[in-house]
Amino acid sequence: MTSQLLKSAARRIIPCLDVRDGQVVKGIQFRDHRVMGDIIELAARYRDEGADELVFYDITASPEGRSVDTDWVRRVSETIDIPFCVAGGIRSVESAGRVLSQGADKISINTPALENPGLINALVKTFGSQCVVIGVDSIADEVGYTVRSHTGTPDAMRSPGRQTLDWLQEVVDRGAGEVVLNCMSSDGTRAGYDIDQLAAARQVLPIPLVASGGAGAIGHFVAVFEQADVDAALAATVFHSGQIPIPGLKKSLADAGIEVRPC
């Protein structure tokens, strides 16, 4: 059962939209990106279906070393009335400020935080911890949980030699407001979230934790909330394809005794 016995915010369901050239795309294990639809249309659809929040990840931005084109951020902000986070290509206080001033509610950084951990402190100082999400790509293997950087392109991926749980502790100490933990071994498999790894992360995180990677069935969402006590669950393909409609998912979670915002 969940360890959070005291009443607080409801558990969140977060569709993740990988963006390239104004289109939403989704790859399997970070490869072979297929176009899934127009960004504004999909954002509006998820708003109407009862998504609690959206994450937009500009997959072209980070590997090629350029910042996100922020015009689509403004269009999303004009269209939807639920919070959203922008990830990808944000590597400075200035580029974060551009995205936030277009109407994004949070920014998420991953590789730039590993390369320059002080950037977390600088972003927190400038915008407040509530804006600053740290994305962590982590692999479970025989040596435990270790982080990966430059995961946007498979050929560029690196192993910076950090233990995942140590890194999570560090981002908390530096003031981050939330962590999205993407368990890469599960990502794209639709075989379920990495409950063990997320539960281990939960133990070191007093801040909100978002589970990412592996959602393939409604039962996977129930399990990750009940067994890993995460605050939110992120998924892409199962939502984009229509395989798991959000209203039905939320009803199943409520029936299982997990508090969610009604659609």
């Binding site: 360890s3 959070q4 016995l5 005291l6 009443k7 607080s8 915010a9 409801a10 558990r11 969140r12 708003r47 609690d52 403004r74 902000s77 004009e78 009335d81 639920i82 919070p83 974060a96 400020g97 936030l100 001033s101 277009q102 109407g103 994004a104 509610d105 400038t126 915008f127 407040g128 911890s129 509530q130 804006c131 407001g177 939330e178 007093p206 801040i207 909100p208 006590d229 605050d231 939110a232 915002r261 009604p262």
Partner: protein, 198 residues
């Protein structure tokens, strides 16, 4: 109707402006004292730290301007917190329009800080603005909160109850983000715009 959204230096104010435009009004985003004084409604948004936000208001000479406003004023999130007397955050002195001191939310028994996500509100005192909102869900992101007091219209819960909506005279405050709270948030903003002049 003229609506002034006070430019208090925060980066992500655009969502408030977009939400007002979705309601069919054209807000002025301004740090001009005359424009703020003349507006029919004033919205004080804000994210970030309390101490820094007060410094920015002070640099623009806006502290006495806001304190002397007679029209309905709505503080949102940090803007709501600024209406109080003081905060544990930075030990900041605030605008002093509503009695009380903000305290940090407690990280006890698995409660997460910041309190981030959707939570329901419960009305505690009758008011035209909040009457249709009882039990509705709003999006919160904050690490400090105002205690429940005689100025509380509605509460929400993060382990213990805190003030979700407050009012003292013409000054209203919402701890959550109505601009990011779907239809419930739009209802609050519309209600505020329709609040009669005092």
């Amino acid at each position: 109707m003229s609506i002034a959204v006070v430019d208090s230096g925060g980066a992500n104010i655009a969502s408030v402006l977009h939400a007002l435009r979705r309601l069919g009004v054209d807000p002025k985003f301004t740090d001009d004292p005359a424009e703020i004084r003349q507006a029919d409604r004033v919205i004080l948004p804000g994210v970030g730290a309390a101490g820094r936000a007060m410094e920015v208001l002070d640099e623009h000479g806006l502290i006495p301007v806001i304190q002397s406003l007679q029209q309905p004023v709505l503080g949102i999130c940090l803007g709501m917190q600024l209406l109080f007397e003081s905060s544990e955050e930075d030990d900041a002195r605030l605008l002093g329009l509503i009695p009380g001191r903000l305290t940090r939310l407690e990280e006890i028994d698995g409660l997460r800080v910041p309190h981030m996500g959707w939570n329901a509100i419960t009305n505690q005192a009758p008011d035209t603005l909040t009457e249709p909102l009882d039990g509705m869900w709003f999006y919160f992101v904050h690490s400090f909160a105002a205690p429940v007091s005689e100025w509380t219209l509605s509460t929400s819960t993060h382990g213990t109850d805190f003030s979700a909506i407050v009012r003292k005279g013409n000054f209203y405050g919402a701890q959550f983000h109505p601009e990011r709270s779907a239809k419930a948030g739009a209802r609050l903003l519309r209600g505020f715009l329709e609040t009669p002049l005092q």
